[in-house]
């Protein structure tokens, strides 16, 4: 099958029936592997890794803080892609997938902010600072809340999908800033990327990097969070498709009788 044919085959999942049938088939795999990876990564990191020479046992917070922060940003980027698909191709499933992902993004951002504050208190001597990365993350969190509120506030689903898609485009600036704020403004308390930086992993650069003893369980946790995100998005999108069908059926029932 050519690449163009494969890309075309992807659009079949814009059909709600096809989407539901496929997601029901693959969901058990994503639920089980995500739970397994998260449990393995957390147990490995919590019980079988040493304390850091500078940060002591607080380094164990990395196994939750980093995967959650990573998913908070990437969840918004996934919403951006599905919103663009809605705006360009008008596939309802893509708009509903963006809607389904937003509460997951809220929780991931909240975990990153809460664990960051708890971690920051003993390390920086403060729960919060108006540091570029922290501030852009807080704004991203507010964008998530605004996105969900906008969906709830508008009754017509197509209008809601249009307006939330535009909001998603605007909010993408902060999703990107959350990741690169440290590089743009070389100030603040939060350190730069030290985990998912090619040179840090391979050891080819000289900047501070996460030791492999912490990196491997962290990688397992990150894989677990990604799999959990996929499971939740598939499951929640299925719920949104069914909720939309209920509305359509009830409307048809009202007209008919």
């Amino acid at each position: 099958m050519s690449i163009a044919a494969k890309a075309n085959a992807l659009w079949e999942y814009a059909n709600p029936r096809k989407f539901l049938a496929t997601s029901e088939r693959v969901l058990p795999f994503f639920w089980i592997t995500s739970m397994f990876c998260i449990a393995l990564g957390l147990v490995w990191g919590f019980f079988f890794t040493p304390d850091d020479y500078k940060q002591g046992s607080t380094v164990k917070i990395i196994y939750l803080h980093v995967p959650a922060a990573l998913m908070a940003i990437n969840c918004w980027l996934m919403m951006l892609v599905t919103s663009l698909i809605w705006l360009v191709r008008r596939h309802h499933v893509s708009a509903l997938a963006a809607r389904a992902a937003a509460p997951i993004g809220i929780v991931m951002t909240l975990i990153a902010l809460v664990t960051g504050a708890i971690w920051g208190q003993p390390m920086w001597g403060t729960w919060w600072a108006w540091d570029p990365r922290l501030t852009s993350f807080l704004i991203l969190f507010l964008f998530y809340l605004g996105y969900v509120a906008l969906w709830e506030a508008i009754e017509d689903p197509d209008t809601a999908a249009d307006l939330t898609s535009v909001l998603c485009l605007v909010g993408s600036v902060f999703a990107i800033l959350s990741r690169y704020a440290v590089n743009f403004w070389n100030q603040g308390l939060h350190q730069g990327a030290s985990v998912l930086r090619a040179g840090a992993v391979t050891g080819t650069d000289t900047e501070e990097k996460v030791s492999n003893i912490f990196f491997y369980p962290l990688l397992v946790c990150i894989i677990g969070f990604v799999l959990l995100f996929v499971a939740l998005v598939l499951y929640r999108t299925g719920t949104e498709i069914r909720a939309r069908r209920i509305k359509a059926l009830l409307a048809r029932e009202r007209v008919g009788g």
């Binding site: 957390l42 919590f46 019980f47 304390d51 002591g56 046992s57 607080t58 164990k60 917070i61 939750l64 803080h65 959650a68 509460p103 997951i104 929780v107 909240l110 975990i111 809460v114 664990t115 708890i118 971690w119 208190q121 003993p122 959990l228 939740l232 499951y235 929640r236 299925g238 719920t239 069914r242 909720a243 069908r245 209920i246 059926l249 009830l250 048809r252 029932e253 009788g257």
Partner: protein
Amino acid sequence: MIPDLGKYTDTVLTSYAASIVLLAALIVFSVLRGRKVRAEMEKVEQRMTRNG
């Protein structure tokens, strides 16, 4: 059972507890709403089939 976390015991355990509670709440609410909506859809579909 729990490793010695030294003076940061509260810090580390609070982070884990908060994160696990938030993740569990997200999963539980998603599954509960999913089941409720699925049951409601089946009910509506059955009613519409009966009524033609």
